[in-house]
Amino acid sequence: MRADLHTMEQIDLYLQGKLNGAELDQFKNNLATNPELQSMVNDQQLLIQTVNRKALLAEINMVAGIGGAAWYANPWVGMGGAALVIGGIVAAVYFSSDNDPEINQQTEIITQNFDSTLVEDTIVEDGTTYFVMEDGERIVPDIPQNKHLVSGSGNEDNDLSNQLYNADETSQNTDETDEQTGHVTSTPDEVKTNNPENVISKNRIASFPKGDAALKSFIDENMRFPGTAKEKKISGNVKVTFLVNPEGTRSNIEATCFTMRDENDKPMNSTQMVLNQKIANLFEREAERVVRIMPVWIPATDSQGNAVLSTQELYFNFSLKTGNTVYRLD
């Protein structure tokens, strides 16, 4: 270790109160006579305090994010329930308000990205939305299916939102609208919280800083293919849901590995999925990790432009052939 790094270690120990005896005396002597050392101690102490404050703020935001909802032992998992409830609210708010053309535009682009990377088509049967994958396989995403699965012009969407809004009230035209559009209405029953902090607005959805291209390159740089999965030549798709706090930090990150492929690139059946649960967990943990280390997001805003809490979903595709990819749906 270089000499100056050694000094930093000494300062660290001093600040933690772990220096004692002759070492402590010597350090104190140095400190009294060496202004440069004093300045280093100050800087280091402040930096540590800043690190702690940032981490503390993230913890506080996490508590604030769930408001009055149930508290879970492990903050990184098990928050799916809250996310779903909030997801319901997203849908409710979205459908019950006028549409913003800017958002339609934005989501359209994202949908196209999604289509071109993984999903060949989206179809609706019996009120359920399926993603048709590249090989013709159908996947039912176990997400609050509500928004933007199909891109359309702003005007169409506008009419649509009115239709859906009416359908919600009368419960009569729902099937018809679903078939036309691929939208699935959320039932009002899903909206179980009355915490005003959780109301999410349509006005601007949360986004990765500098856009989806930056998100992709961030994934390229930071996402690793789990070693064991690589050895066994298994690939997988993971959905990650999380909250974007008004400060842009993420909380309640939860990943679900919903499909995996074996070494012959054949989709696994449910038994194989269970047998390879450990690999699925590796994919999930890696996806959660990547979401956790992302830079601060641009939060969603309400009609006054105030930053608000919002939900986000990202889909990660761990593939040995094409590399890791990411897409968003909402």
Partner: protein, 187 residues
Amino acid sequence: MTDQEIIAQIRSGKREPAIKALYTEFPKIKSNIIYSGGDAEIAREIFHDSLILLIEKVSNPQFELTSKLSTYLFGINRFLWKNELRRRNKSPELEWKDTLILSAEELGYNEEKEEKIKLLEKVLSQVTERCKKIFELFYFKKQDMNVIAKELDFSSVNSAKTQKYKCMERAIELARQMNPNELQTQA
């Protein structure tokens, strides 16, 4: 939860339940702030900053509570909100119920230091994610360097340590570049 239980939890590193208990004070503080010209967003900001200051205070084993914890929390909020109003060139009388009137000295609040921390916050958003992770695990989560080295795939404890100090060196250097007058010795 009693005040002593909250304090014990903060000191033992189980902050979440303590934060949750303290958060029940937020609605009252929020309405106080909104009543004197703030909005929900600034109220939340002030409240979160107050929680941070409170937890920093309480974490010090020498800290002794001289009032109810909630009263103290109200006092910090009032102080920070007054500070913010002063920044906006307003100084209305704040009549809050059940609050302490705290001065900057009593609170150990140093404007200059807070400015430096703000600068360092900017710096921290510029260091690599790996650096942030090491800092957080070591200083905040107080994890052992052996564990950190394993978790972050370092080849050895020593290389993790070296990396940590290099990150630190880099961050301090960045801060000095951003503002050469800042972060100089305070003496």
